[in-house]
Symmetry: D2
Subunit: 422 residues, 4 copies
């Protein structure tokens, strides 16, 4: 017999969280018109409308269809349109052609969301199979991942057109960066991976011990000002500090600065942000650099990137307050406050690590279509850690493993330096 | 001193025609949502919104800016976005990225059109330089060309997505096709090219004599039913009837039927149209075939394509009534009515000719940016003649030269057979 | 009953010609090592060894196999390797991979040639079916075409590697070019196409009348010096004189001079030739320019390219002496000698015409595999006329139609200007 | 003052080893004609002649030029042609165009080798700077790596052409494979990386401790017979067991079996080998599979790939006799002999591991151009271990890290399964 949860305070809390996460996604559309929500500026990017629809498809396919008796999809053809990569769920619309889905219209997608939300709340009025609760929880975390993707994608879409529409007001003041300093770690046996009570993705498990060498991490992220010095020193013009694949990428793509930097015509730099094109803030952490760039910068700076184990071994997020996250509104990463210890570890920019994204010892993907979630991407990507300004608060945890190919840089990705110690 | 036209009946007629043509373009949007108007399903296709904006840019750049004192463009950056290919007008947005222009929004473009229309009417309230009248006339014919392109493009956009939205209601009844028969022409000296009073593009001139061999033309266009027989006979699977470039195209693209044909799963065919996906009408002229396909079909049928001179030498459009055109609403090409002589010569489907698109003897392009209009496309394209269901009535004339690359088939292009006679 | 030719003087002459043409091909290898004969520097180019083998395959497939009783191919798999494009002869090795055929070795191919030559002479010792004579004649003209291709290809191969081996000694002195002058033609009815006794390809027929406008041709070809002035005037940097496709080609390929020009580092030009890299001769005809470049130059020079009918209407090659041809050794095109009338019409450089390569009125390809010879290339290519330094003497005739795509320029292609006259 | 080695027994041994390794490379040409030695069947492959020249360039650039007074290169332009990827040594010929270097001829390269060998022996007649000895040693190991590449490349070149020349005689008998069994390892702390006296590449260091989970390895490699069962079970047609990138590769490339398998037309398989196309041996280890295929097979078999640490922790090569290596002649991998313990660990096929190729903790590349040797390839590649039939005996050591991209499979790469144990 299957475990069930009866109506009560716990179920009510679950339903409330469900409504809150779903509403946050819609709120991210503020400032986007139907035409904006349609855009796909490059194959890696998805239209914001697609994110709204795909996250809804997830709940309809994995929760409502199997568990809500009598549920009928609004339009069965939408399953084809909004499946992302779940082979077990059948064929699907080509990823690079998501921008061609003018139908369903944005207003139709929003109506679909409302219908699905209503059905979810009906289901969560209980009693409810515990498998439903597990899937709803997974669906909400999946949706939160797409919230961050939606922000990344909308930023890329705005940049791809000559008028570069401004999207959100700037809300945070600037701050200055402390001098670079090194914080030592003695190495030895450490335990990494998710082990506590809360939710985690399968790729954060199992928790296991690792052996670390002695090392040091920089007290803060690399700043725009430091990166500008790298550019001025010919960092993008000499192959010396680059990985072979990275140098080929620089030359083929004509890369000469982080993704959203623009020359101001007088020797300085501007930066495209969600609140417009503004002068580059030299004290803010550099953001939108690729793994190749991060690696080259580190080599140029006579340092290296940390491994994901080194980053994680430093310990959990100690206290609230080190950043403001997606549900509070978007902001440009702030500079670190001066003081002791590592700053800017959580919620400013994602930190590239030199760790290839792979399975932990003993890793096993979940069975069925949901098992396609993380494991099948475990090749040729690098791990990033820590979360950024667009990351939902729930995802800013010490065991969370983000991953991108080393040439990608439309995420809010930055750099913290590491080095060996004797 | 420049020739001027004073206010009066002629100017009023010009202004009325201007308002009518401009309004027809906007009327074509019926049934398209802002998201639909944003789509670019492939590099050859432009978003409907882009056509609305580009035709407006044409009047603003070539008429209002030089001739209406004090005229200011709504937004000077739009000139970059909506220039098509006029090198003399400066750099421009990449053609393949037109679908990424979410801004200006559709409603902003429509407001821009209204402002420009108002300024044009102001200018045409006279007295007015005759050069203005010449440019307005060219601009209106240019706009009419884009009306047809807008229909072609919207059809392609609807086909590129899984839901394939229906756009216009079907209005015309079906009709049966008469048996194929051959109509003889004695050959000899003929005169071709535009020679009369009305407007013509530069590529229709100068009028000149040509020497024709004796030949015959089919009494009607090739039908869907005849084309289905070609498919069933392995027409797309054996290289025999194909040009070398054509066969390479068939194999690389995996072509196996006209562009919008879909198998019905039971051995028959459906056709994607602007009024939905419908069973293929065997009596209607085949449409959306490439020049390569047209050539291969003709060879298979032991005939050939006509030259553009042969087609034109048959004489002008004799009477109204042989079709209904864009300003009357869209319709699928109707089958020919039985009777004597050539039918379906005007307004059903564009007829591929075997003539490479080149300059007539003595051709000279106009000076300046407007001279980029036709001449610079005179390589590697083939001429089509006659007009289709989406062609404005004004453009259905005997000297009109349409042109596409032989692999293109998103135009309403069909086939009339020709053959040599002893 | 089939027509037969009995042994005698005519058959002996045929056999002698056969031996002579076949020996000329092998003689072209002088200066090429087995490794050189293996090279394919780009998909358009074929290895010299491949030409030796393909022309041999032609005789084995179309002459020996059907007509010499008991003939066995040396290796039946070679038919797959050395078929060029005859679909009717079955599948074949990919064109772009011809450079990967290390086997058969060059010495094996030469031995194959000897065996086939011997069998041909046996067959021609008669009595022999007249169809054999027709096919041998076609095979020899086909082989002569490949002689010219072999020279073009070996030149391209030498250029593609850093050491750029010199291949043939320079044999001809330089000469100065006369001033440019225009020679008028009254236009009117003219007859073009092959009509005489000798051999012609199917695309030169049927002979037919055309109507020409009054026009003028330049008295000589465009020189390197004139072309250098075009380059210096920014000819490759401004879109004005270019066809749209041509300008796209210039920008995508980074074209800035004729194919084999090299900057000398001091503001002048060198030229890669079969006898080494030498200073550019300003009086020699420019060579290795594409159709796009030819058209742009003509527009820049306020002239145009001739049509193939205009070129041909000027009349046949009047006398020997206007060039030295392939069987006499290779030479760089010489400058025109001063004097009356058109010079350099035959045998210096191929003249680009503005005529798209298509069928003459009433054209019918030969039946069977041999019918694939010319007709199926009749799309998107342009006609060139006149022959070059590498053209066998037999092919320098007034009706000969050479053809290339307008972006190609590894042939010895140059320019003669034309213009309209009142 | 720099350390020097005086003439004596040690130097004589060094010189003898130098002569022996250099001669082995030339001996590998047996069976290859000049045309074969010129081939580059795909960008990853280099012509055998190029390997002969590049290894010679290495000694001339890094040993003779700086250390042998008065040494002059045979031709200074060859440095451009035969530099592989050393950015610090200046620009170089494009990798994908190595097959276009007909010059220098094979016989010229062989003469170059002799001249360089002679100069090396002169230098090694001493007294000699110890840095020279270090560089010669590195150069010889570099040359041995290219010996294996030369074999891989020549095999690929022979396969790319229709005649598929046989190259080496078959020398080894077939043998049957024992049943699959699992060998347990308790996990815990292990030490990996090079630590002994002999030569090792920089990427094998520093030696360091790692923490391993309990695991098991298969007693032998996966066989052709087992792989054929995977194919027959639809292994290449269902996305289930594949990584996302791997499945995309399978679909885009149309992969349906290991690289050199050919269907025999009766439901079975043939295999292209250096000794011809032969029936597939079901007991031999599968070879020429990509990392993606290896991973998919392991998932299908309900196992996984080992990590490189797991593979290495099993201990060094215990005894001679487990294979015959390059200097003994080429052979197809033999099946494992039955018995206890792991078999086929060394010298049969390279074993794909699931470890991304990256730096060991504390890794530092060598300074200068020679530091470009290994470190800059540390992204997106996977590690392989163990050596194959074409690996020189010196390189078959427990710490050797080979690496390829997961889609590559022209190396002699195979699979040993691993799994977690409780």
């Amino acid at each position: 017999m299957r475990a069930m949860t009866e109506p009560g305070a716990e179920l009510a809390a679950r339903a409330a969280r469900c409504a809150q996460v779903r509403a946050t996604t819609v709120a991210l559309l503020d400032g986007l018109e139907p035409e904006d929500a349609q855009l796909q500026s490059e194959p890696d990017v998805s239209p914001p409308k697609w994110h709204l629809a795909h996250t809804t498809w997830f709940f309809e396919t994995f929760v409502l269809a199997p568990f809500l008796p009598g549920h009928q999809p609004v339009d069965p053809r939408w399953a084809y349109a909004f499946n992302s990569y779940y082979e077990a769920c059948g064929p699907r619309h080509a990823r690079a052609a998501r921008g061609l889905l003018s139908r369903p219209l944005l207003r139709e997608v929003l109506a679909w969301r409302e219908a699905v939300d209503e059905a979810l709340l009906t289901l969560l009025s209980g009693p409810v199979d515990d498998e439903v609760l597990r899937r709803v929880e997974l669906g909400l975390h999946h949706e939160q991942q797409h919230q961050e993707l939606l922000v990344m994608d909308a930023k890329a879409n705005a940049f791809a057109q000559p008028l570069r529409p401004t999207w959100r007001p700037r809300t945070l003041p600037r701050a200055s960066a402390p001098p670079l300093a090194w914080c030592d770690h003695p190495g030895g046996l450490a335990t990494v991976g998710h082990g506590g009570e809360g939710f985690a993705f399968d790729n954060e498990e199992p928790r296991h011990r690792v052996l670390l060498p002695p090392f040091a991490l920089a007290n803060r992220c690399v700043t725009n000002g430091e990166w500008a010095a790298f550019v001025a020193d010919g960092g993008y013009r000499t192959p010396g500090p680059w990985l072979s694949d990275g140098w080929a990428w620089v030359q083929q793509q004509g890369i000469e600065a982080p993704r959203y930097w623009l020359r101001d015509g007088e020797g300085g730099w501007l930066e495209h942000t969600v609140h417009g094109t503004v002068p580059l803030d030299p004290d803010a952490p550099v953001v939108h650099v690729s793994g190749y760039e991060a690696e080259a910068f580190a080599t140029w700076a006579e340092a290296r990137l940390p491994t994901e184990q080194e980053w994680e071994a430093w310990g959990p997020r100690e206290a609230e307050g080190e950043g403001r996250f997606l549900d509070d509104g978007l902001w440009h990463p702030a500079a670190a406050t001066p003081g002791e210890g590592l700053r800017q570890r959580f919620g400013d920019v994602w930190t590239w690590t030199r760790s290839a994204y792979g399975p932990y010892p003993g890793y096993r993907p979940a069975p069925g279509a949901l098992g396609e979630y993380n494991g099948k991407f475990m090749s040729s990507q690098w791990v990033l850690r820590g979360g950024c300004c667009a990351t939902p608060r729930d995802h800013v945890r010490v065991s969370y493993r983000n991953f991108f190919h080393p040439h990608q840089r439309w995420a809010f990705s930055g750099v913290r330096l590491a080095r060996d110690t004797p």
